[in-house]
Symmetry: C2
């Protein structure tokens, strides 16, 4: 631990009930009958959610800035406002059948830290900020992680503002409609630290009965579209030896993808989530199959090795099955290694408070993955029930959410207390 | 060869051009832009097709009977009309994107035999009949092979007349609308022979460069619905070891079905034609998969062995993949062995004419499969281009259709010449 030290406020704790109530209040905006939330990016409901955040941030004494893609920055002044800010945040847009915690937790945990510091009369050396990133989910507008991606320069502002939803409405038009088309220039340089607290969205912490996931980085991703072309034919009259069965070949691809991940256990992932058969009729040998491949790994070297084997083996499967197989890469996210001193701040925070913790990697993308390219970054995971997310039944325990928020506070204090 | 002898008309040949022109004329009724035919059972187009058949049959001197499910019997009198009739026929309804030859060939080949016999002044000992079976395809009304199934007593007439299409129209109503609700009682007993000429709908004859398929029987069929239930989860955050991937398990089922057929080569078949993934999203581990299984074999013993292994291995796959697998049988057709003396009549016909021939089994269902339960039955296959059927690009060579019709005529003459 080089630049991060324990704070003089080791006994300070956030108000878990206040955090929970705040989450439940925000979850009313776009609440679904099944107990989830539908609050798509840049809709009237998103405006209400943003207004809720801004009102709470102002009540906590923050100044508000909104940039040109609608990201909201709520700043709590420090003793020396020329120091790089210590930031936290996440998003408040949801999937169409989303939950109450995904994203919302990271934003409201940040506000809860501010409220706690206010109550305790603590002013940090560096200023603190909570950011709400625009359209992390990508459900209404693509690309996903739009706001953080634009902020760090992955996407140009003009490109983002021109993106359209299914009804042809652009991001620019939608931002104007809801009153969040900002003009502030917020620089991605000189940020002291970025933390993001999030539900795990996976089953690892729950399986190990651990409260805090110390996230050491995020897996890189390479996604492919795969098209397998055989020949459709009658299932009855066509002997096995004369078939060109696209689904039989696809079954070998599905098993190959699983094998590629097992070859690089425990952190690699391989998933075929989508598979469409044509013509998809009981007594017709499938003539073609389209499927998706999602490969994830903790290093580019591993990802490359997985893809090399995929390409080679796919051609063997094609030859064996008398079909053709075409692969097209459609998504690439490089692996992100989080900043070791911030990861250590999270780990120390958990240990100081007496919480169980373990190192984990983030298998999913998060705004923090983009932020890691421009600032020291780390994430804090807390368990969610059965690992379920992007689902209306997404659930998390108040005590876990409270614990994660306490870790967030102490990690931020550790970084922001430097003179 | 016990009861079948060569006819005194060994040199007689049908008119290939007339047969082809008749096929092309019928194919105009419901012709599609892609060169196929859409003439669904009991529609106005089916009425036009039936009228075309009846007019040609009457012009050839036939008497017409129509039974209560709309099957049309065109009878050419023999020298001794108390002898059991020698029948041939097929169907003229098509798939929605069907071809010109499936079914239509068997019906018009029968009429061409009558025209040829008329031109040559031949009267057989036994009467001859050409039958048009109602709704073989099952595209508009289920069950498939409705007319022949009702005729042989597999289905009760009242059950058939009450079947509804998607718009709620019953078979009975549709028969009345098109004027083919007959009242004749046609007995399935005492039929001397039933022949059905058909395009192969598979690739075997073409692959072997053989003109005549001597069909020795039809494969039995057992179809299953299979539901695989795992747990859907995020592809990124969920380690391989904690997954319950329904599609991965399904891939093993697909390969098992292939293996079951290869275990009983060359006549067994195993096909997964339909497979649906839920929720079918790129980055979600599939929570459930529904798929169809179509098993076919030339004996019930083989079919049973295949199903026993399917049940046993499916439970191993389920255990290994931490999912559940449920199988439900939805279709059973027993294997049909055709009558050896009629099969020999087909073989002899081909050899007498000097055509290449080979024994084949019918992998698909045909009206002949039902007829085999009540009368000595055989089928004659001719090649179709690339084995393609149930498709607008279905195609066959005029010389092959002519050859098959000549074989049909000589097989019928052999059976009908007995005093």
């Amino acid at each position: 631990m080089s630049t991060v030290s324990l704070t003089p406020h080791a006994a300070l704790r956030i108000d878990g009930a206040r955090l929970w109530n705040s989450l439940m209040e925000l979850a009313q905006i776009g609440a679904t009958k099944k107990g989830g939330v539908c609050r798509l990016a840049l809709t009237e409901l998103d405006r209400q959610g943003r207004d809720f955040f801004v009102a709470q941030a102002k009540a906590a004494g923050c100044s508000i800035r909104i940039d040109s893609v609608g990201n909201i920055f709520a700043r709590r002044a420090g003793l020396n406002n020329s120091l790089p800010a210590v930031m936290t945040g996440s998003h408040i847009d949801t999937q169409p059948t989303g939950g109450k915690f995904d994203g919302n937790y990271g934003v409201l945990a940040g506000l809860e830290v501010f409220k706690t510091l206010n109550d305790a009369g603590v002013t940090t050396a560096a200023p603190l900020e909570v950011v709400v990133w625009t359209n992390e989910e990508g459900s209404r507008f693509v690309p996903v992680m739009m706001g953080s991606g634009a902020f760090i320069g992955e996407f140009k502002t003009d490109f983002i503002l021109a993106q359209k939803d299914r009804d042809g409405i652009t991001v620019g038009q939608a931002l104007h409609s809801i009153g969040y088309a900002g003009k502030d220039q917020v620089s991605p340089s000189g940020i002291g630290a970025y933390f993001e607290a999030h539900i795990e969205q996976g089953p690892v912490l729950e399986a190990h009965d651990i409260t805090i996931g110390v996230v050491t980085g995020a897996l890189g991703q390479r996604w492919f579209d795969v098209v397998i072309t055989g020949s459709e034919a009658h299932a009855g009259p066509t002997p096995m030896s004369l078939r060109h069965d696209a689904l039989l070949a696809a079954s070998h691809v599905v098993q190959l993808i699983n094998e590629l991940a097992l070859d690089h256990a425990p952190n690699a992932r391989g998933t075929v989530g989508m598979l469409d058969v044509y013509p998809n009729s009981r007594n017709v040998i499938p003539g073609s199959v389209k499927l998706s491949v999602d490969l994830r790994a903790d290093s580019d070297a591993t990802l490359t090795a997985m893809v090399d084997k995929l390409n080679a083996r796919a051609q063997e499967i094609a030859k064996q099955g008398k079909v053709s197989i075409a692969l097209t890469q459609v998504v690439y996210f490089p692996p992100a290694a989080f900043a070791s001193e911030l990861v250590q701040a999270v780990r120390s925070g958990a240990r100081t408070i007496g919480l169980s913790e373990m190192d984990v990697v983030s298998g999913a993308g998060h705004d923090a993955v983009y932020m890691a390219r421009v600032a020291p970054t780390a994430m804090i995971f807390v368990p969610c029930k059965d690992g379920i997310s992007h689902n209306e039944i997404e659930d998390a325990k108040s005590e876990h959410l409270e614990a994660g928020c306490n870790v967030l506070m102490h990690a931020m204090l550790a970084c922001a207390s430097q003179p």
